[in-house]
């Protein structure tokens, strides 16, 4: 059996359908565990107090915002070189979730910034480059929806994603390259080993939960995209869920 078999929308559609409940359940269980540990088990931070708990949402969403864009860039390369239809569909499926995580990273960052730095927003390198990432996601969605011809839309979208991927290392290294208000990558909550460990574990579990969620929701969305684009193909008529629908009288 070859993995390439699943690069065809007709074979990927049922596979994605089987995978969604698994990733969805994993995301739910991890999220419940992460929230429990982050809100009930992890102690108050000695410097920031209770407000530090925002990092259990902020850091995972910020990681996913960058990671999803890189995955989209990977699919963009596949789409441009091999012209695989499924790659373009995956980019389209990932973009709204990437935009959602970026918006959440900015929102939670602002809510953390106000009590900690005294401001919701500053035009520093980390925050500005993350805002640009949000515009790149929105720009991609707007671009592919504005072009009628799907092949041209996919090509233009893939190019935009590739060019925009330059922004991801800029976000990541911004705190080292420039003197920013945003702190560096280290998790500066270490006051005793046990305390740092439970905070780190809670955050990593939430990051895994976001990762599993992103996979589940993108696979679900790509199924809808496949159906919309392949509606004239003969194989869609044989899908059990569609066959099982009642005919109007």
């Amino acid at each position: 059996m070859s993995l390439f078999k699943y690069s065809a929308p007709s074979t990927f559609y049922p596979l994605a359908g089987k995978l969604v409940p698994w990733f969805g359940t994993l995301a739910f269980l991890l999220c419940a565990t992460g929230l429990y540990l982050g809100l009930f088990v992890a102690p108050e931070d000695f410097q920031q107090g209770e407000v530090y708990r925002i990092i259990f949402i902020h850091v995972p969403t910020a990681w996913m915002a960058m990671f999803i864009y890189l995955v989209m860039a990977g699919y963009a390369v596949l789409s441009l070189i091999y012209q695989t239809r499924l790659s373009a569909m995956m980019i389209e499926a990932l973009a709204p979730t990437g935009a959602l995580f970026t918006a959440l990273a900015l929102w939670t960052g602002a809510l953390w910034g106000k009590p900690t730095w005294g401001t919701y927003w500053a035009w520093d390198a980390r925050m500005t480059s993350t805002l640009i990432l949000l515009f790149l996601y929105i720009g991609y969605i707007a671009l592919v929806n504005a072009i009628e011809d799907k092949k041209r839309a996919d090509k233009a979208g893939a190019l935009l994603v590739l060019v925009g991927s330059v922004n991801v290392p800029i976000i990541y290294f911004s705190v080292q390259w420039w003197n920013t208000l945003h702190q560096g990558a280290s998790i500066s909550v270490s006051q005793g080993n046990k305390m740092a460990t439970i905070m780190l574990v809670s955050m990593l579990i939430m990051a895994l939960a976001c990762w599993m969620y992103a996979i589940a929701v993108s696979l679900c969305r790509v199924r809808a995209i496949i159906l919309t684009r392949e509606k004239n193909a003969t194989w869609v008529a044989d899908i059990a869920e569609i066959k099982g629908m009642k005919e109007p009288r």
Binding site: L39, I57, R223, L227, I242, M245
Partner: protein, 59 residues
């Protein structure tokens, strides 16, 4: 555990719950939208199949 203290979050409840609330709210909205989208796509195809059958029986 005192729930009032828990929700107060040391006087930072607005910031903490504003973050966790937005996270859960947006995820629930996204799940609903994606489920609606796939349902709509399936219904579209189902209707197209019926329309094609009708057209074939009329010709």
């Amino acid at each position: 555990m005192n729930w009032a203290t828990f929700f107060d979050m040391g006087g930072r409840g607005f910031y903490v719950w504003g973050s966790f609330g937005a996270f859960l709210l947006l995820i629930v909205i996204e799940i609903i939208l994606v489920r609606l989208r796939i349902h709509r796509a399936q219904v579209d195809i189902h209707e197209k199949i019926i329309a094609d059958k009708l057209e074939a029986s009329n010709t």
